[in-house]
Amino acid sequence: MSPKATVREVLGGFWSLLVGMRITLGQFLKPIITVQYPHQTLKVPPRFRGHIELVLDPETGLSRCTACKLCERACPSESIAVDGAKLEGQKTKSVTDYRLNFTTCSLCGSCVEVCPFDAIQFSKAYNVVSYRREQFSQMDLVAQLEAKKQQWHRPAPPPAASPAPAPAAADGPLPAEGKAS
């Protein structure tokens, strides 16, 4: 290498180091962009596919499910088990037990698509945790719906990067101890 090229390489290299340092200093002075997850959460996108849940009909305050079992048949992995009964003074059957095996569910959405009453939808629950397998292998959607009714008057879900809602476990109520055993 000629001496001129060497000098140019050394000076150019040093200049590039300074440019790099200017960039990192610029980033250093800019505000933080990460979301502090346990304290803040992002808004869950509307098309997010959590486990399925029963829809609460705002008019009746009950589930729209008539236990027609179309979802049970549509499920490719046989993850759904529905039971229904005719209640006093009603023309149609209503759901009494809706069990989802979330461990085998692939979130394909066939059940949601096939439902003629729009009685099931994808939930927004992404932080479902449990110490017990049964909470996932036998998710009790009816019990979850009952729990949701209790929260009916709670305020709307928070917008992006706002204080987090109640801890994760509140998202999906556990099936009662007695039922699981």
Partner: protein, 341 residues
């Protein structure tokens, strides 16, 4: 005031003061490093332990103390145990001579600079011992790298220091600072430029800074640790507080290196504008300059990736040594010239 001049009192004050200073710095520079790293990457860094993460050092130290000190089978026990002590002792001793203020120096040795540089190299020997004694291939590779790296960077570092010495004519750190009185234009980094004794003094500082990074094994020259290639290099087999001491020593070395840079180039405890000097403001100025330089060290670490080993040696032998030799020659010639004229 006579009480303070008693030898045992001085010794005690030195031990307590330096250990406190070093402990505080080692603990909180780790936090500062992680915070700055976070900010550079647009995240907040540790912020869960205490407000803004100020208790993180306590958590870290508590964790390290709680860990078992394990001596792996097959290691050279004596060297293995001696290495953390040897890596920690030299910077502690070197801080004896560092003048934090005109009167705030444990012992003003008139060969202070020589003491610092003679003890500074023991750090390398400690890493060599630790790496060799660990009986681990990564540690041995790391130890070999550290030695060749430090041999390479000791040379330009000393050449730079000789350049400074020719201008100052003394190795007494306090005296070097006194010569830089009057304002920032009298600091060594700028003095040589306008008095024409060494117009390349800023370049000299850059070389000093690069060599300091290499001597303290800081990124982009952290060949000793190189966690992505050598696990943890010479520290692979160390755990708990043994590892913690290596970590503390790294930060103590940074503090020492930046103190030296402050003394040699930035006028130590001298005020930059000539006002606000005195026994109270002196240490304040010193610490401001010290931490500004330490910030730069951390800033450099989070900007540049680790160099390759060949690049590292090429930088020293092909670029830094020729340039520092040239500045030495130029400085010598100009000083002689100004004396003759």
């Amino acid at each position: 005031m006579n009480f303070l001049n008693l030898e045992p009192v001085r010794l005690l004050l030195y031990l307590v003061g330096i250990c406190g200073f070093v402990g505080f710095n080692a603990a909180y520079l780790v936090l500062a490093e992680r915070k700055i790293a976070g900010r550079v990457q647009r995240r907040p860094g540790p912020n869960e332990a205490g407000v803004g993460g100020w208790m993180q050092p306590f958590a870290d130290v508590g964790k390290l103390f709680a860990k078992q000190v394990m001596i792996p089978p097959g290691v050279d026990v004596l060297l293995y145990c001696a290495a953390p002590l040897m890596v920690m002792a030299p910077p502690l001793i070197c801080l004896v001579t560092v003048p934090f203020g005109e009167a705030l120096v444990a012992r003003n040795i008139n060969l202070g600079l020589l003491l610092v540089f003679s003890l500074g190299s023991i750090n390398v020997m400690a890493l060599l011992f630790g790496g060799w004694a660990s009986r681990n291939k990564y540690a041995v590779i790391s130890a070999a790298r550290v030695v060749s790296q430090n041999v390479a960077y000791e040379i330009p570092m000393l050449l730079v220091v000789i350049t400074i010495l020719m201008a100052t004519g003394t190795m007494d750190l306090n005296e070097i600072i006194r010569q830089q009185a009057g304002g920032f234009w009298n600091w060594n980094i700028l003095k040589g430029v306008w008095t024409l004794t060494n117009p390349l003094m800023p370049v000299t500082f850059v070389i000093f800074f690069i060599c300091m990074l290499a001597e303290t094994n800081r990124a982009p020259f952290d060949m000793a640790e190189a966690e992505s290639e050598l696990v943890a290099g010479a520290f692979t087999e160390y755990g708990g507080m043994g590892f913690g001491v290596f970590f503390m020593a790294e930060y103590t070395n940074i503090v020492l290196g930046c103190s030296l840079a402050t003394v040699l180039f930035f006028g130590g405890w001298q005020s930059p504008i000539g006002v606000l000097s005195g026994p109270i403001w002196g240490p304040v100025w010193f610490l401001v300059k010290l931490y500004a330089l330490i910030f730069m060290v951390i800033w450099v670490r989070w900007t540049f990736p680790r160099t390759q080993f060949y690049g590292l040696l090429n930088l020293s032998w092909k670029i830094l040594i020729p340039i520092s030799l040239f500045t030495l020659l130029l400085s010598g010639a100009l000083i002689t010239l100004t004396r003759v004229l």
